[in-house]
Symmetry: C2
Subunit: 350 residues, 2 copies
DNA sequence: CTGAAAGCGCTTACAG
DNA sequence: CTGAAAGCGCTTACAG
């Protein structure tokens, strides 16, 4: 059955025949049925208000009767608006960006936009191909997490005057608009908080990504500026998963000086650490305190609950889409940075 | 700058002017530059082998020189192939389907397909709109998780002879092809396993979704058929998250008869239960055993490690894409069901 | 408020 | 192996 359809594909006449047989109606069919021109049907579809009520009603009935579904591919070509937004994230399996993606997709679909999802992979290796794919599809906008560092891609996008929203960070020179927060400030805030709580020997557990590195630097800058010793630390190649936290716990125990608090670059790390500490009979936070990052659902649910930094990922997604909305409404966006901030959530683990 | 671009949009002449000014090259520009016809450039792009080597080289150089990026919207309209696949899942925030989505996106992008991501929401409420959107975009295929139960959508897809892959289940009558496993069999297997381990008073903790209900039924059928008492149980409205496991633990303690094992419909539930049990000083599995579902990363990382049912979500994604590949290669797919099976993973918690 | 017509940027059967 | 031409299904300025 499918093979048959494929065989037909090659020949336009056969294709037309095939469509007739299968009865996929097009705009013309609706127009004929309603006794109006194709132009009027198109207007009704895109801007019902400008069509006479009676005409509109006939068209509505014709659409219903024919089961017409507009061809957005053809529409996009004709109008130079794709109603498609590319969302590019590193991964989706277990990602801190998932709440952002979810919020974006929901907001965009309210506006009648579709989402083209691209996974850029570790270190954003596939970013250039995905940018190119987004341009190929004539995406109305590209939303990505992190900062676009690939120079050729940047130039391409700037050259095309593309709408690009960078999220989860505030680069000094965004391509277009950035929605995020200062990772450096997060690190500094955590340092200040821990100092206030009387901790003296922090140990940093970080993923090696750009953003985690900025938080780390923020912590170190603030901590040492206040006279603290340079913290001990451990780094992980890529993503920080639960398992790393466990491994880290063991490695930490072999350090010369025992830390009194561990600053983790994700709640997954913090969780892994916690589980391992409990299994080893180490009391948290009395013998070892733990701070996470992200305020994932688990942070509030673990025992002990995890002190962490809350990032409102869904809000980042909504703000990003909101920029697109304002643009679509003709507004010129003056700000190039939209800071959604963050909140340190004090719980039991530190 | 953006507002200016928008102002231009309305007028095609201005648009053409705008493009020239901004220099977005099209196929014709490449053809002119290479001294060949547009048809030949198109052929080179879609099937380099049928173009003479020297010609191809000139075209390649012209593409490079102009910075041409093909317009897949126009191409899609002309060829009736969108190279777009719609992937429809309930959510992406914390979903058991994420590994499947990830694998699909990666495999599809290898084939040069883009992914249109749709979130169907609780109870797949937005499924009909998303099906319609996918058809509007002329998606080459629609991959969805679960079974498509909405009758109008089913009819629409069947009427259009659409390529539809249903995943994570094996419905008796798939629309087209289904890739998944038997949830009933999972439940039965878990029952058999626990009986073999000597457990006598299972307690079922289930989400109310279709698939969880099938596993529950499979458990009950097998358990009672073997002479077991009908298990006690608790149900959750929608998704099963970590927090539910904690709440469930407390509720369970008020039951008349204390269960000796809890069968959870997800690893998140199991994890929540475990955390709460540990906090309450209840020993797992000696005083209370726990079984999860899904074999998420955390299942192997928790202390104690969680006995669960492994579903190879990534494989489901790959198999689904593989069906599309075989179709594209002209193969007729005889099987309507592709069973990827499951594995009970025996760990410490039960 | 509505219609006729041109055009969006490609692909592809046909003919050479 | 290559070109000329028709066509994919819409949108929209123009004219009424």
């Amino acid at each position: 059955m499918k093979a048959l359809a494929m065989a037909f594909r090659a020949d336009p006449l056969a294709l037309a025949f095939n469509r007739m047989k299968r009865g996929i109606p097009k705009l013309d069919d609706v127009a004929r049925q309603a006794g109006v021109s194709a132009a009027t049907v198109s207007r009704f579809l895109n801007n019902p208000g400008i069509v006479a009520t009676a005409t509109g009603e006939r068209i509505r009935a014709a659409i219903e009767a024919t089961g017409y579904v507009p061809d957005l591919v053809a529409g996009g070509l004709a109008s130079a608006k794709s109603r498609l937004v590319a969302v590019l994230v590193p991964d989706v399996a277990q990602s801190i960006f998932n709440a952002t993606v979810e919020a974006m997709v929901e907001e965009l679909s309210i506006d009648g936009h579709s989402v083209m999802l691209g996974l850029t992979g570790i270190e954003n290796a596939r970013m250039p191909q995905l940018i190119s794919a987004a341009l190929s599809r004539r995406a109305d906008a590209i939303i990505l997490t992190g900062i676009l560092s690939d120079k050729p891609s940047r130039d391409l996008l700037i050259g095309r005057n593309a709408t690009v929203i960078e999220t989860w960070g505030l680069p000094p020179e965004p391509i277009d608009v950035a929605v995020g927060f200062s990772h450096h400030a997060v690190g500094a805030d955590v340092a200040r908080f821990l100092r206030g709580r009387g901790y003296r020997r922090p140990h940093l557990l970080s993923a090696s990504g750009t953003r985690a590195m900025e938080r780390r630097q923020g912590f170190i800058d603030d901590w040492t500026a206040a006279g603290g010793e340079t913290p001990t630390e451990q780094m992980f190649a890529s993503q920080t998963r639960f398992g790393h936290g466990r491994a880290a716990f063991r490695a930490m125990r072999e350090l010369g000086t025992a830390p009194d608090v561990v600053v983790c670059s994700s709640d997954w790390l913090a969780q892994g650490l916690l589980v391992e500490a409990m299994a080893a009979g180490v009391k948290v936070p009395d013998e070892l305190a733990v701070v996470g990052f992200g305020n994932l659902a688990i942070a509030a649910e673990m025992r002990p609950t995890i002190t962490t930094v809350d990032i409102d990922g869904a809000r980042i997604g909504r703000e990003a889409v909101n920029v697109l909305r304002r643009r679509a409404a003709g507004e010129t966006i003056a700000e190039r940075h939209i800071d959604v901030g963050f909140r340190l959530i004090e719980r039991e683990s530190a």
